[in-house]
Amino acid sequence: MQLGFTPAEERFRSEAAGWLEAQLSGPFRDLRGESTFSAHLERRLEWERALGAARYGCIGWPAAYGGRDATLAEQVIFAEEYARAGAPWRIGHMGVELAGPTILAFGTDAQKARFLPPIARGEEFWCQGYSEPNAGSDLANVRTRAVLSGQGAQRRWVIDGQKIWTSLAQFADWCFMLVRTEEGSRGHKGLSYLLVPMRQPGVTVRPIRQMTGEAEFNETYFTGAVTDADHVVGAPGDGWRIAMGTLAFERGVSTLGQQMGFRNELDAIIAAARANGMVGDPLIRQRLAHAHIGLKLMRYSALRMLSSAQAGRLSNEAYTYKIFWASWRKKLGELAVDVLGPAAEVAAPTYEWELLPRLFLGSRADTIYGGTNQIQRNIIAERALGLPKEPRGS
């Protein structure tokens, strides 16, 4: 157990820090400190391409697919320097952290060659098609169907159904999705994991307005949408196992990137508390301390997860990470508005929000999407603690 870095790792650190600084004080200075999910879309896409061109897009991937074969330590270092530089949230997240690792782990060589380099170069963007309107927390309740039709080179999957909560679908090039490919199957069985192009007539994206006033999520309709017969990851019918693998990747290095956004939010709260004197309020102080502690613990837990993942283990803290950060951030949102007082409740004329009130409203979704807190607790209790399953209804 040791926290320090080798001289070679420190050299990587200064190289990465130098590049980030040059970019964010130079051509991308307008994006420094950008903390929104998807504002300034065009510039954000340019930033992804710049990362890709410098081979900083997916440093942990094999060099053959545009990565750097970076060690765990180097990935930690890059995340740290990325945060320190105030670089923007990675709008390429879905490809870089979810689609890419899934294809790396489960894809064919042809799929890897086709899909990974454009992700690493920041040229193709992805969205996730898991949730459906009737499924809710019962993720396996997939009704979107796909059937193979045509012959030979014309053989394709034809997809019909509806997905929901597909974030970033408006500009995604591809969607990785769970579809039912066995007629009459139920639950986890008979599902397949398809890679489907979004820019085609059979795909319609309709934004869902959220309580923040923004529309970061979508309903996505597939009506006779098609994709190549080869664009299935794993065997047809094996989609559930692949999708669960994707969910596991959410617990990887990306958590370190996520934490940088949290740090910005906490720093903004501290700055506000200093400015209006609330930093002297003993109740607020305890909550500031709790917030700082939670953030540090997320960092330490991420280091643990990465260390054990490197050793090929999935350790128990990985199960607890999602509920920990989601519950933490919801409290952070409440702290933010309690520090600001009534001023937090005044919007810009179009119901747009500054960072902190947006945090308050937006964080209400954290304990819902990506598995509600209730689902997370089921998973922890059953998988990590070995407690008996709930009886399933009929």
Binding site: G136, S137, V346
Partner: protein, 381 residues
């Protein structure tokens, strides 16, 4: 000693509930988008034919001569539906300020039109920092011969943009005074905000050398501080009632959803973790009802208990409302986070109600002072 509503009171409640049964999501959203942020026809109906604005006013002002218990019943019902309406600003906060601070003649003048539903008050009692009155009052009155001059800024003035008369709290000499100013008076600039809570619009109001007659001052010069406290306590009690109604309603909505929504082959409401969350919320709501009802009785019968009861009711009921509204968003899952679902409207109202007139933390600190338990620094909000 009878701690249940009387038959007459229950009739008032059911009449109100019946009237507002049709005030559904569509009507609420239409009200939010309407000029001034409320439904004018409903306001006329409430104030005019139904006499709600005069319910708790003495008969000599044209009121029904009932009391704060009955007023709070209406507040509960208005809260249930999140009715966007000048009722709280006018018939609760405004009426309480006038009743407590004004002379008899001024009451006649201001409350008689209110009883007929023809008066909307804007209570400019909060300074620009948003601290609960009278902390941080910015407006100031100076004498200018026989007339008064008012300058400064008030903020978070509920329905300030559509008020007929502004009731402005201002520093005067070493004390506080309350003045009434007709809308449109020269030097008064009303800047409507877009608020997080879409159902209770607020404005910032700037006063630039506004000239007023000496009779604009309600009561004696600099003497508003004490009656103000009593008026605020009455308003807090009514706000607590509103919060209880909203909490109960949002909990009902959530329960209905959980009974109907099936996941994993079972109604969501059969999952013990969700049942227990609901049970905890109901426990809070029931305690909140006790708090609100007792406070309403105290407002009516026991002035000496009013400050304590108001601090208890305001803090507990707003906390309970927030728990229920936040729980509702969570228990509805994704749909609860969308704009089209009403859960967020309750959630935002819950936040706004908690902030208004002193947060739960602020109320608890005040409670200890009322109980004679020393004092720590007053919280900012």
């Amino acid at each position: 000693m009878q701690f249940e509503h009387t038959e007459e009171q229950l009739m008032i409640r059911s009449a109100a509930r019946e009237l507002l049964e049709s005030y559904d999501s569509a009507r609420l959203r239409a009200a939010i988008g309407a000029p001034g942020g409320y439904e004018a026809a409903l306001w006329q109906q409430m104030g005019g034919e139904l006499g709600w604005c005069g319910l708790a006013l003495p008969e000599r002002y044209g009121g029904a001569g009932l009391g704060w218990i009955e007023l709070c019943l209406l507040q509960e019902e208005l809260g249930r539906r999140l009715v966007a309406s000048p009722f709280f600003a006018s018939a609760v906060l405004g009426a309480a300020l006038v009743m407590e601070c004004a002379t008899e003649a001024q009451r006649q003048e201001l409350l008689s039109p209110l009883a007929r539903g023809q008066m909307r008050f804007g209570c400019a009692i909060t300074g620009p920092g948003g601290h609960p009155a009278p902390q941080g009052v910015d407006a100031e009155i100076t004498s200018a011969g026989a007339s008064l001059r008012l300058s400064g800024v008030a903020d978070f003035v509920i329905h300030g943009d559509t008020a007929d008369v502004l009731l402005v709290l201002a520093r005067e000499g070493g004390g506080l005074s309350l003045v009434s100013i007709p809308a449109g008076t020269s030097g008064v600039h009303v800047i409507p905000h877009v608020m997080m809570d879409l159902t209770r619009p607020m404005s910032r109001i700037e006063f630039q050398d506004v000239t007023l007659g000496a009779d604009a001052r309600l009561g004696a010069p600099g003497a508003a501080a004490l009656p103000l406290e009593r008026a605020l306590d009455l308003a807090r009690i009514a706000l607590a009632a509103e919060a209880v109604g909203a909490a109960e309603r949002v909990l009902e909505m959530t329960g209905d959803y959980l009974k109907q929504r099936v996941q994993f082959g079972r109604p969501l409401g059969s999952f013990q973790a969700l049942k227990h969350r609901m049970a905890d919320l109901m426990t809070e709501v029931e305690a909140a009802k006790s708090a609100a009802w007792y406070a309403a009785c105290a407002a009516q019968e026991r002035p000496e208990e009013c400050a304590e009861a108001a601090a208890i009711a305001k803090s507990y009921c707003c906390d309970a409302f927030y728990s229920c509204a936040a729980g509702s968003v969570q228990l509805h899952g994704g749909i609860g986070f969308t704009w089209e679902h009403d859960a967020h409207l309750y959630f935002k109202r819950a936040r706004a109600s908690a902030t208004l007139l002193g947060s739960p933390v602020w109320q608890r600190e005040r409670l200890l002072r009322v109980l004679g338990l020393g004092a720590a620094a007053t919280p900012a909000f």
